[in-house]
């Protein structure tokens, strides 16, 4: 699934970090950055409520494809700057994390790529 499709599914918008052309691998929904660092997958989509620079830096460390922040939380200017400097697509979605997970699960199931 492409990042641009993720944006569409989550009614989101690309706020910073450049292109939405990349593809996502597994989906990780978590607010604890040490848990995110435990993941072994490449190109994860990180869904988080943590609107801070560290969400983007953590995502970059694990080679994530993009970061989604929920509930239309206001994103600090520095978070967008970090996303731009690391080239990490940063998406803002009005959905709650649970709703976002459900939508992505159903979309991937329909796509046949698993959840």
């Amino acid at each position: 699934m492409k990042i641009s499709e993720v944006i569409k599914i989550l009614d989101g918008k690309l706020v910073a970090g450049g292109s939405a052309d990349g593809k996502i691998g597994e989906i990780v929904a978590n607010d604890l950055m040490s848990d995110v660092l435990l993941t072994d997958s490449e190109n994860i989509l990180l869904l988080t409520s943590l609107a801070s620079d560290q969400a983007v830096r953590t995502a970059n460390i694990v080679g994530a494809a993009a970061v989604v922040v929920h509930n239309a939380k206001p994103l600090p200017a520095t978070m967008c700057q970090v996303a731009d400097s690391l080239g990490m697509p940063l998406i803002s979605s009005p959905l709650a994390k649970y709703d976002a997970c459900v939508r992505l699960y159903l979309a991937r199931k329909a796509e046949g790529t698993g959840a």
Binding site: L50, A55, L86
Partner: protein, 334 residues
């Protein structure tokens, strides 16, 4: 709830924390040196905790007025022991003068909707509260919600100026030290891993705004040097965890990365206070982080165990109070 119970408002009831973080440019626009000082200090380091003039609930507003006049202060906490019941400010005194109730006890007119600071918040966050509210001072509480002091902008300015003089000399040497960079450049041009490269990053206490920069830079450096992507990821994870640990748990320190033909080594060294029980600290889920650190996405207690998981060799030495050194080594596949 008794009628004297103050209503403690968090920042979020007026504006969300995110709005506070996003909305206040004052601290972000400050010079770097000042920002580092603001991050390094916690509220308890700069607040006034001694000789605090306070009122009890039964004191009259007239006695509050006299205390304010005699001590040239514009607000007083209403306390009993270490319990905070409210605040009396100049505003309430003016209203009492106009309304003729100067002899009423404070409890009838004091402010009970209070915005308070936690004593372990970084000063940078406290400054944002000053920016977002019009109060001249904030009462400070500890984890047990006991009153521990008062913080005004003047306290912050005084502490910063005092510290600034000491810090300027140190900050001149703050920039990264590069050793062997030329060799690394040559090796990169030849598409080979450099013979030896060392780079050191200074980590400032509580500077969460910059935490993670060193790890991201280490990741870029290793990638550029042609290190296998799987190893780069492991090193980056360890460097990031250690950087966060030094930032939130120590008085400050450094992260050093050493790259040679056979391995990558990350050394995290801090200046204290040391870990009392290293075995305990290395277990999954154990942490001494406070709520504020957890609210920033850290403090899950996975840091050291994550490092141990990804590293081929993991060593930790800690002494109270002098500090902790963690060494993580990653073998290169040659």
């Amino acid at each position: 709830m008794s009628v004297y119970e103050p209503k403690i408002l968090s920042g979020g009831e007026h504006r969300s924390d995110d709005e506070i973080m996003a909305g206040c440019g004052a601290a972000e626009d400050s010079p770097l040196v000042i920002m580092e000082l603001l991050q390094r200090f916690q509220v308890k380091d700069v607040m006034r905790s001694r000789n605090i003039i306070s009122l009890s609930r039964d004191d009259t507003l007239r006695s509050a007025k006299e205390l304010m006049r005699d001590n040239k202060i514009s607000g007083l906490p209403v306390l009993e022991g270490r319990r905070l019941f409210g605040m009396v400010s100049m505003n309430q005194i003016i209203k009492a003068l106009e309304g003729g109730w100067l002899d009423d006890p404070c409890r009838m007119h004091m402010s009970t909707s209070l915005v308070v600071l936690e004593e372990d918040m970084p000063v940078s966050i406290a400054l944002k509260y000053f920016h977002n509210y019009t109060f001249g001072r904030f009462p400070v509480l500890n984890k047990a919600h006991e009153f521990t002091g008062i913080l005004s902008q003047r306290d912050i300015t005084n502490a910063m100026l005092k510290e600034l003089a000491h810090e300027i000399a140190k900050l001149e040497n703050r920039s990264e030290r590069h050793i062997g960079t030329d060799a690394a450049e040559v090796a990169r041009a030849e598409g080979a891993i450099p013979y030896y490269s060392l780079r050191q990053f200074v980590i400032v206490r509580n500077d969460l705004a910059n935490a993670g920069k060193a790890a991201n830079e280490i990741k870029r450096m290793l990638k550029d040097a042609g290190v296998d992507a799987r190893i780069v990821r492991k090193v980056a994870v360890a460097a990031y965890e250690l950087e966060i640990n030094v930032c939130i748990h120590s008085l400050g320190g450094s992260i050093t990365v050493i790259l040679d033909h056979q391995s990558v080594t990350i050394v995290a060294k801090d200046r204290g206070p040391g870990i009392k029980d290293v075995e305990w600290a290395c277990q999954d889920g154990t942490s001494t982080a406070n709520d504020w650190i957890r609210s920033m996405g850290f403090g899950a207690g996975m840091g050291l165990s994550n490092c141990r998981r990804v590293a081929d060799v993991f060593n930790i030495n800690s002494f109270v109070p002098s500090g902790t050194t963690v060494v993580c080594e990653f073998k290169l596949e040659v």
